[in-house]
Symmetry: C2
Subunit: 336 residues, 2 copies
DNA sequence: TTGTACGCGTTATCAA
DNA sequence: TTGATAACGCGTACAA
């Protein structure tokens, strides 16, 4: 490893002069500076992150909280996409991105301890078990934090505009002539699920439609099988099929469609179905799914922007939703 | 921030004694040790990563090379899943996981420079543009590296057993009575694509089947549209449809199925189609896809194991495939 | 404009 | 068993 001392020796100057040259200080002659930079390059000098951070007390690093305790992880297209956009944005600003861990060497640490250990400038909570005992300690620590929808609400949150999405779905379905529109909600522990069901009620009520509670059902989870089960329950409690179904996720919608097929119904002829997310493959299912597209890239980027602003003290941390990202209605074959 | 000096003051001893207590040295009395640990806990002491790493010259950190220059990224289920399994494994051993970046602060760095800057113990190449000029420098640097299939072959590689998978597909299809079996290969810049097409040729030849070059076609990419286009080309060059199609990825298979439908063919009645990957949603498409399941978790974990062994000098680095992970044939509705 | 000297928080050596 | 003291590599007052 070549250090600034090695360079100093070769350049015939002191280490501090080298340091100045490398950090383009203004208190150094242009000639010396270029000379030193040339030598540094020649010798293959690379600064040492630890020494630099120790001296400056400045980490330029961001922690990612991505818990795999849940059955939702990196491979989940939505969170994966959001994280990628986030990473791209902050790396371009010169930050490094490290996963928050619960261990360092042989020692176990809490999230907060790890963040202090690494002296991260901020944390992006992507997914986390909201019941994790370590979580509260972290969110209340004062370290800049942002999150995307995942139920942690005492932290600045970037989230899709669920109301807008729901309104677009319902208006579209009603325009198409659907009278009774059911809603298969996501699990209520998810904030997005709550927002969507609230919006469903609100939009219909404002449109003068009386809410039929039999048309509402909560899925156990966001996945395919939960959607399938929910559909069976819905048909049973409603005593038949509605004109249309608004599902809280694409996976739920696909599960519902599968159940409908099993029951002998056709989509969209007998029932229209709309999902939420716009995951890649819904383009290719048959019928291709009409859905609300969430803007993963924008969500990730907005989360990054917000976190950087917090880090730079340009804004104050305010718990709850700080940014709503517009969604889009993508019309395909599952509605007519 | 509380340091070992603060603890030393409170405990009435020297900082070096504190250090010993905290690192469970054997040259310290049990009583002192417990006393100091108690005080440290009371004061909320957390060690400083930078200072420790600077002193020990030991980083306990692994870099992840995950390039988003390609149109394949974190949101890709396969690589996302592999990375997650990798991360879980190494974090449990006490390593921290950081994305390799091309910038630090305002300065641009090559991959290798970044790795030196951070002093990482090893690198896991998940995805990368194989033509990246920075890549060679990194792979030849001597830093422990592993990768999974992505075309970088001068590095220890963990990969699915493509031969086994191909053989299972072909045997199965032939058993079902398929005479002419087409292969829609992946792009040849991918090593897995090459392996699969080679296996296709070899297995059939060994079974006494003469290879009909008209039954082979290379898709431009691994995605849906490439599969769709490839199918049209295949039908055109073959002058009809074969009994069965073995596609190099699920996305390709789904694209092919879509094209077949457009042409008025039924799957599996007229043509059987088999994919490769077993991505989540293929369970739910109609027809549900018969495919070869890749074991993402095992691949990620094996990559982790191998890298750790390299880091610990338990093994030597050998370029090329170091581990083949078994695959599994998952039979669903797209074959009969 | 340059160099000296010290601090960042920790580990490690060696003498006490 | 404990405690000075010197690294580790870098940045930065402050003096020259």
């Amino acid at each position: 490893m070549v250090t600034i001392y090695d360079i100093a020796k070769k350049a015939g100057c002191s280490s501090s002069t080298v340091s100045k040259a490398l950090n383009n200080s203004s208190t150094i002659s242009k000639k010396r500076k270029e000379e030193i930079i040339a030598i540094a390059k020649l010798m293959g000098y690379v600064p040492n992150s630890n020494a630099r951070q120790l001296a400056t007390k400045n980490s330029w690093s961001i922690g990612i909280l991505f818990s795999e305790d849940l059955n939702i992880g990196l491979e989940h297209h939505f969170f994966g996409g959001v994280l990628e956009a986030f990473k791209t944005y902050v790396e371009d600003l010169g930050y490094e991105v490290t996963f928050v861990s619960k261990k360092v060497g042989h020692q176990s640490l809490s999230y907060l301890e790890w963040c202090k250990y690494k002296n991260v400038d901020g944390v992006f909570i992507v997914t986390v078990d909201v019941d994790d005992v370590n979580l509260k300690e972290l969110t209340e620590s004062g370290i800049p934090i942002v999150t995307v929808d995942n139920g942690v609400l005492n932290v600045p949150t970037i989230i899709s505009d669920n109301y807008q999405g729901t309104r677009m779905v319902l208006n579209y379905l009603r325009l198409k002539g659907a009278k009774n529109i059911a809603h298969i909600a996501g699990p209520m522990r998810s904030f997005a699920a709550q927002e969507r069901i609230d919006a469903y009620r609100d939009v219909l009520t404002k449109a003068g439609v009386e809410i039929d509670e039999k048309l509402i059902i909560e899925a156990n989870n966001y996945d395919f099988n939960s959607g399938k089960n929910a559909l069976y329950q819905l048909v049973s409690q409603y005593g038949g099929v509605p004109d249309a179904i608004y599902a809280a996720s694409d996976d739920i919608a696909l599960g519902a469609i599968r159940a409908l097929k099993e029951l002998g119904y056709k989509v969209p002829e007998d029932v229209c179905v709309v999902g939420f997310d716009n995951i890649e493959l819904t383009k290719y299912t048959s019928p291709a799914l009409t859905t609300i597209a969430q803007d993963k890239v924008k969500i990730g980027r907005e989360a990054a922007k917000h976190l950087i602003a917090l880090i730079n003290h340009e804004i104050e941390s305010t718990p709850g939703i700080v940014k709503r990202v517009p969604v889009e209605l993508v019309i395909r074959e599952s509605t007519k």
